[in-house]
């Protein structure tokens, strides 16, 4: 790849990187990109803007005059104003908003080499737990497959959990309540941390810090039994509520022990830091929080020791590193990955 020219406006380089990212970076480009990003504080903002712009254009996907018409590179040629009747003056509000880019970084002490994977062991990629920062600075961790939609306004920070499970760490702002809605259940917080899981027939709320209200999203009434002193009922840290979506069901509130809490939140990624650690220990650490389980298929591997830092949900990265740098072979069997010495 040609080296990028050093330009004064970083948007030029940023757009080159956005297009390259879209077609996939080579290992060398990945390094070059990381260096470029770190080289100047302005590069990250330019990169965010370029990525945003590139993605914005996807709104036009499928825009055509007829679904059966052949692809026409000149579809938007200005003289062909068949249905694209102009012209509006655009007065879009100049609302500043930081484009939050979820750039995940994995720290390797050893970098995987660009070596083709063996087709026989065709791995599938595991989605990472996504960490997202909301416009108010609150953070969300989305468990695999979770989908949320943010609807923030001046008076309310609302997030809809459309499927799956998420953990919210809420920045305190009494003037602007933070509400998570899932299937008609509204979980209200001012400054707190909690986990919401949307299941097929129930919504489960687990409070890890502070307190939340659990309300009917439409009527606004609490779904919890009233507290004795006329206080509005709340769920406090270490408690969980399970709201059955059947119309007549009464929510089940339960206290959660510290051990249980840890186990229930095991899906959230941590940074696993190993120093000269034996393989069985490393494998066990990964297996604690992941649906995919690693096993060691060779007795010899039990003696192998390793120093590395990984995100606990990045099993795939770990496996690829083992393959590329340590001469292991991975065999994917459904939800199990067996590691062996390559031979």
């Amino acid at each position: 790849m040609n080296p990028l020219p050093q330009k004064s406006d970083p948007i030029e380089a940023a757009t080159v990187w956005a297009v390259r990212h879209d077609r996939g970076l080579t290992a060398a480009e990945q390094d070059e990109f990381s260096q470029w990003l770190a080289a100047d504080p302005g590069h990250r903002a330019a990169w965010a803007e370029a990525r945003w712009g590139w993605d914005e254009l996807d709104r036009l996907a499928g825009l055509q005059t007829s679904v059966h018409a052949p692809a026409d590179p000149d579809l938007l040629l200005p003289r062909r104003r068949r249905w694209l009747a102009p012209v509006y003056r655009f007065a879009l509000p100049a609302l500043a908003a930081a484009a939050v880019l979820a750039l995940g970084f994995v720290i390797f002490f050893a970098r995987p080499a660009a070596k083709p994977a063996d087709p026989l062991t065709a791995p599938r990629q595991l989605a990472l737990i996504e960490q997202r920062t909301l416009p108010d600075g609150s953070t969300v961790e989305l468990n695999r497959g979770a989908v949320i939609a943010e609807e923030f306004s001046d008076g309310l920070r609302r997030v809809r959990l459309l499927r799956g499970e998420a953990h919210f760490q809420v920045v305190r702002d009494p003037a602007r309540p933070f509400v998570v809605e899932a299937a008609g259940v509204a979980v209200r917080a001012v400054g707190t941390a909690f986990n919401v899981r949307l299941e097929t027939t129930a919504v489960e709320v687990l409070v890890t810090e502070g307190r939340v209200r659990v309300d009917d999203a439409v009527r606004g009434e609490s779904l919890l039994a009233a507290a004795p002193a006329g206080e509005p009922p709340v769920l406090v840290a270490g408690q969980s509520a399970r709201v059955d979506l059947a119309p007549t069901a009464v929510p089940q509130v339960a206290a959660i022990s510290a051990a249980e809490l840890e186990q229930r939140l095991a899906w959230m990624p941590r940074l696993l830091d190993f120093t000269n650690a034996p393989m069985p220990e490393i494998v066990a650490a990964f297996n604690r929080g992941n649906p995919v389980q690693l096993t060691l298929g060779d007795a010899l591997l039990a003696d192998m020791r390793l120093s590395a830092t990984f995100r606990s949900d990045n099993v795939e990265g770990f496996v690829r590193l083992m393959e590329s740098e340590f001469g292991l072979r991975a065999e994917w069997r459904g939800d199990e990955i067996v590691l062996r010495q390559a031979r």
């Binding site: 709104r59 055509q64 938007l76 599938r124 595991l126 499927r163 008609g184 009917d216």
Partner: protein, 178 residues
Amino acid sequence: MPPPDSELARWFAEEVQPHEPALRAWLRARFPTIGDTDDLVQEAYARLLRVRGTGSVACARAFLFITARNLALNQLRHLRYESPGDLTENAASGVLDEGAAIPESVARAEDLQLLIHAIQSLPERCRQVLTLRKIYGFTQKETAARLGIAEHTVEAQGAIGLRKCIEYFRRHGYQPRP
């Protein structure tokens, strides 16, 4: 428990989820080496919802298929598991074969009009590249084949086109919305 009443939830249920079986079947047929389509489908949903939450989408189905296809291609590339020729065919065929043309009311949405005008303001090659890539969802390789130009030219023109679009956005106060 009352049903969730939000417009977004209704839209998701009525205009997005009905495409899921077709999307999954297409992904399985198109990318047999990707064993599990769940992550692709969910990530495509997540992207669609983010975009829909901040403006208009011309065609949810096309967005979904093209996004899932791009994610799948990234995954295969990422895994360096690409077999030659496998990804050069018209990967977008079949994506847009169903469903009606975009209603004029949708195409007239202000934000879509601004995006259209941004592309219309580009020099010819840039405009053609971005049209094929973004509206028809062709990959860089497919776009190069369609236009009969080298892939690196498509890449360079795509980057120039994107930069000019961003400059157009800046001039018109079009910015990321919360």
